[in-house]
């Protein structure tokens, strides 16, 4: 029983990472109807930036915040410079550009910081203030920080007028323009937020998986799985889906398939959900008008 609880709680910690990435993916999907395949590499790059700041002597949480700001700005710039011009281009063009970004970020990180594995510090104390062998201190910290961030984001979208405007712009850009919302600005903001969320995910997972340019691809895959399971049209669903995937990954790995086929597991989940319940747990099926 202990093992089951341990795996579940540990799964919630990795699930927090997947939930963050899933949220970032869904936010951008809602805004532009495309999947940001480069989300993982952007998060990885942000994490490297944070690593660099820490290596230069900055205290962790200070570097953390600066990294968030830089990522936010970076996300906005990418939207404005790279994606705004191809807004109306066909799907393949978007996919190609996302892939190009993946390449560029991956290679730039390798160029600037090389491909050797680096240690990324965990900001959480080495021991928990209470006795337990059910969950480690870092894992608990990750869940707390992630939930806190998700709470802030929820509050932003629900209770601020900019948040409302962003939701409106994503749902109905034409009507949004007609009430004076600059859809362009909202898109840029959305990307900035997604980049920020990704950066948090990267910085939270790096202490566990070690920092190197290829660290995020598998994690992104689980993020996508979380988004698909939760429902691509539901940010809340994506978060739930992400946590779920974290727990499932551990339980399946422990009891069913062993730890070596985790990526295949994600593949099967994605294909199965897209085939049999494409709206996921909480999403809506989008009906295509002929």
């Amino acid at each position: 029983m202990d093992l089951f609880l341990q795996q579940t709680l540990d799964g919630l910690a990795t699930g927090a990472i997947y939930a963050s990435l899933a949220l970032a993916v869904v936010m951008i999907y809602q805004a532009i109807d495309h999947f940001n395949f480069a989300q993982g590499e952007m998060a990885m790059f942000s994490t490297f930036v944070a690593w660099q700041l820490i290596a230069w002597g900055m205290p962790f949480w200070f570097a953390f915040l600066i990294c968030l700001v830089l990522s936010f700005i970076g996300g906005m710039l990418i939207e404005r410079i790279v994606f705004a011009p191809i807004h109306d281009a066909p799907v393949l063009s978007h996919i190609v550009v996302f892939i190009a970004l993946t390449l560029i970020f991956n290679a730039l990180a390798g160029f600037i910081w090389d491909f050797t594995i680096k240690e990324f510090p965990s900001p959480f104390p080495a021991k928990l203030p209470f006795e337990t062998n059910l969950i480690g201190p870092h894992e608990l910290g990750v869940v707390v920080i992630t939930l806190f961030m998700l709470g802030l984001i929820y509050a932003f979208f629900r209770f601020t007028s900019v948040g409302l405007a962003m939701r409106a712009a994503a749902a109905n850009p034409v009507s949004a323009a007609l009430v004076g919302i600059s859809v362009k600005k909202m898109l840029a903001l959305g990307w900035g937020l997604a980049a920020l969320v990704g950066a948090v995910a990267g910085m939270m997972i790096a202490p566990k998986v070690y920092l190197e340019p290829n660290m995020m691809l598998g994690i992104l895959l689980y993020g996508f799985a979380g988004a698909v399971v939760g429902g691509l049209t539901s940010p809340g669903g994506a978060v739930v889906g992400g946590f779920l995937m974290g727990v499932l990954e551990n339980l399946a790995g422990e009891y069913v398939i062993g730890s070596e086929l985790k990526l295949t597991f994600a593949l099967v989940v994605i294909v199965a959900v897209l085939l049999f319940k494409p709206a996921g747990l909480f999403g809506r099926v989008v009906v295509q008008r002929v």
């Binding site: 007028s161 409302l164 405007a165 939701r167 409106a168 749902a171 109905n172 034409v174 009507s175 949004a176 323009a177 007609l178 009430v179 004076g180 919302i181 600059s182």
Partner: protein
């Protein structure tokens, strides 16, 4: 100075020319209606004013040239557009829809007052203020669209076929409210309608569009009395 002056306006959807150099103007406080069959260019005219299609020619609002300006800017200067099909934000609440209408404004106190004013005009919206807007009936969504436009405190309200798909009783109620809004809130209205009788009743001026050009113009009384209009558009 006219509130709105359109001069030799042409509008294009890609290579297709939908408006062929039309001209008209509106005074402050007036209700003007644009009539015509499907495809005549009525909706295009409203879209052109809001910068939603490519245009040539001049559109002057309060003396300023607004052709070519981005939609958000035109809206922020007091032009509210109630679009074809209502354009409701279906997944947020009724009240959030209304609040979005005042997005460009900063005067919080006045915004609160205007919200109450809208609820006074449309008590049914107040009943459903926390409901998801997509669950409202067609008539209620149309009222919501007008209410949302009103939240801008606009000088000019553009209305695109507000009677479309609504039951006659609801339409009567709506148009009664529009008249009150025009008189009490001093909101000028440019109304595009297929239902000519209704429109001519509300408006004081009318223009008839046929395939992108103005063929008849005058006061609504003049137009209503016109033989050709009566035969083709009023049905008697």
């Amino acid at each position: 100075m006219a509130l709105l002056a359109v001069n030799n306006l042409s509008a294009f959807y890609g290579p297709i020319q939908a408006l062929k150099g039309i001209s008209f103007s509106m005074e402050e406080g007036s209700v003007t209606t644009i009539l015509g069959a499907n495809g005549a260019g009525k909706t295009t005219t409203l879209r052109a004013i809001c910068g939603m299609v490519r245009t040539e020619g001049s559109i002057s609002y309060l003396g300023n040239e607004i052709s070519g300006k981005p939609t958000e800017q035109t809206v922020a200067s007091g032009v509210a557009h109630v679009p074809e099909g209502r354009g409701t934000f279906t997944r947020v609440t009724t009240e959030e829809n209304l609040l979005l209408g005042s997005y460009t404004r900063r005067d919080k106190q006045a915004m609160k007052e205007d919200l109450e004013t809208v609820y006074t005009y449309f008590p049914r919206l107040k009943e459903r203020r926390d409901q998801q807007a997509g669950t409202l009936s067609g008539g209620e969504q149309q009222m919501l669209a007008v209410g949302r436009a009103l939240m801008l405190r606009p000088k000019l309200m553009l209305l695109d076929e507000p009677s479309f798909g609504l039951a006659p009783l609801i339409v009567e109620e709506l148009f009664g409210i529009l008249k009150r809004i025009n008189e009490q809130q001093k909101v000028s209205m440019l109304l595009v309608e297929q239902n000519a009788t209704l429109a001519l009743n509300l408006a004081d001026h009318a223009y008839l569009l046929e395939t992108g050009t103005v063929v008849i113009s005058g006061t609504s009384d003049e137009i209503a009395a016109d033989e050709t209009v009566r035969r083709s558009y009023l049905g008697y």
